[in-house]
């Protein structure tokens, strides 16, 4: 699956965030969208997933106009975890994960054996199986974020869109989330498109990186081609070196001393 945005102009009300952008994301790989605060990362993600209507341009899913999809059909193809989501704290984990089956059901249908099997699979894949009887309230921040991932995973999407999946998590849970995302991609072949703030993590797990600056696409490519001292200076106005450490596959970003 390929989702292609062409000449996208996106904004809120009279305010334009993205002026004219072409962007393509593909199933099967991990794509990270990075950029400074307010550059329009989340806005692009929302337009590609139809959470936000674009002002002009077009988005095609495998050549078919995004607007031609019914809500449910779209939800069977892509899963989106918005940055802001909440459930009543007393909702049971398994119950919440089960909502991911809604796109496959008519309004009167309930979960059947096949749905239950997929719900169980999603909970096991994200490591929340042990939590299934608990309420959201009883889960830690990292756990509840994995429960949400399980929910969108239950939609059996080809591409999973995650808007800052590690925000508000401590470093251990951030790394755990990145491992989970990579495992889902490598083992289940699920495409991931995510907005990330942490460049080290983007560098480490992404197959492809799109850099956005002031509503324009600044660069895109393989992580090591994109994350360079020059880009860091021009996009973030930050001085750094990219260093290699023996025994480590990916390079590290070494920010200059404060």
């Amino acid at each position: 699956m390929e989702i292609r945005g062409e000449q996208l102009k996106i904004g809120y009300g009279d305010f334009t965030v993205i002026n004219n952008m072409d962007i393509t994301v593909q199933a099967g790989r991990i794509t990270s969208i990075i950029g400074p605060n307010g550059s329009g990362k989340s806005t692009v993600l929302k337009a590609l997933t139809r959470l936000l209507a674009y002002k002009s341009g077009a988005v095609y899913v495998d050549g078919r106009d995004l607007r031609d999809f019914s809500s449910k059909e779209l939800a069977r193809n892509i899963g989106v975890l918005p940055q802001i989501h909440s459930a009543p704290p007393d909702f049971q984990v398994r119950e919440l994960v089960g909502y991911g089956r809604m796109p496959y059901q008519k309004w009167y249908e309930r979960n059947d054996a096949e749905d239950d099997r997929i719900i169980d699979w999603a909970m096991r894949s994200t490591g929340v199986w042990e939590l299934r009887e608990k309420s959201i309230h009883e889960c830690s921040g990292g756990e509840s974020q994995r429960v949400w991932i399980a929910t969108v995973l239950t939609q059996q999407p080809e591409i999973l869109f995650l808007d800052e999946p590690t925000t508000y998590l401590d470093i251990a849970h951030q790394l755990e989330m990145m491992q989970l995302i990579r495992r889902l991609n490598r083992e289940n072949g699920i495409g991931v498109v995510m907005v990330l703030h942490d460049l080290s993590q983007a560098l480490e797990v992404s197959d492809w990186i799109v850099v956005i600056k002031d509503g324009e696409k600044y660069a895109e490519g393989a992580p090591e081609d994109v994350i360079t001292p020059k880009m860091m200076k021009e996009v973030y106005d930050v001085d750094c070196s990219i260093i290699r450490v023996p025994g480590r596959g990916k390079p590290l970003i070494a920010y200059h001393e404060i």
Binding site: R50, L51, S86, D90, L96, Y99, G100, P103, W107
Partner: protein, 338 residues
Amino acid sequence: MKASRKHKVSALRIGTIWLLLAILLVVLSLVAINVGSAGYSVREIVDAVFSAEKSTVKVVVMNLRLPRLILALLIGASLSSSGAILQSVMRNPLADPGTIGVSAGAGTAATTILLLFPHMTNAVPLFAFAGAALACFLIYTMAWKGGVDPTRIILSGVAINSVLGAYNALLQMLHSDSLEGVLAFMNGSLSGRSWSHVRVLVIYAGAGLLLSFLCIKSANTLQLGDEMAKSLGVNVSVTRVLLSAVSAFLAAATVSVAGMIGFVGLVVPHISRILVGSDYKQMLPTSMLLGSVVLLAADTLGRTIVPGMEIPVGIVMSVTGGPFFLYLLRKRGKMRGN
């Protein structure tokens, strides 16, 4: 949402709560049949009801108390269900049928008929229903802008409610000598209702209550937030409008029969949430049961507490319910240690 619970509410607990509410409902019903301004003993009532001859006792019980009992049950369940659904639509615990103009619309229609066209008084229920529907429609039309979002509904509701309220106030000022009917309507009363009212409400409330069971899944998904619901393939704006329509229909049906009864739609869903959690699969049926219990209790209290006089159920509801709700809020606060 506020109704956080430390532990998942077990099926056993929910079963127990439903059973207790059902028992309470039966007991209250028996009490409601038994007490009243005409004091009959249980024996007299049982004898009269099961005898073939037409006695005064039988008439009072069968034609006055029984229809009133049924109305109280239906209205309590309808208003609570209406409020519960609306709270998910608005994602706001303060939403009640008044928010979407049902009360103001029905009030405007009823006031107009009662004060300006008193010869059409018999048609008040019909006009009240139409007024409620119209006000609700108006609010949603004003709030629509490529979709509906709760804040815009609430704000446009505030605006339209205030215009209608001003009109009502003006009309009442100009006709301050003939306000009896208007006051009765505004304070929601079940006094003097008969089987003809029951027949109407059974159909409307019955249909509305059945429809509200179909809203359970949608109401639950709206609780996950707009973007999440959308990404699960829910058409959020359409869902909001459909759920609001069911809610308005239920509230309008009760208003047209009994006038405006506040508080039930706002508070009963809250108490239900405290009791069984916020999953509508349990919360909605609990609200219906509890709504019936609460309204029946209030109506029975209102017609017996002061001998020889009836206090409208709407007033009893607000006077007793308000402090009770405050008590619940404070008690819950303590339990959670804040």
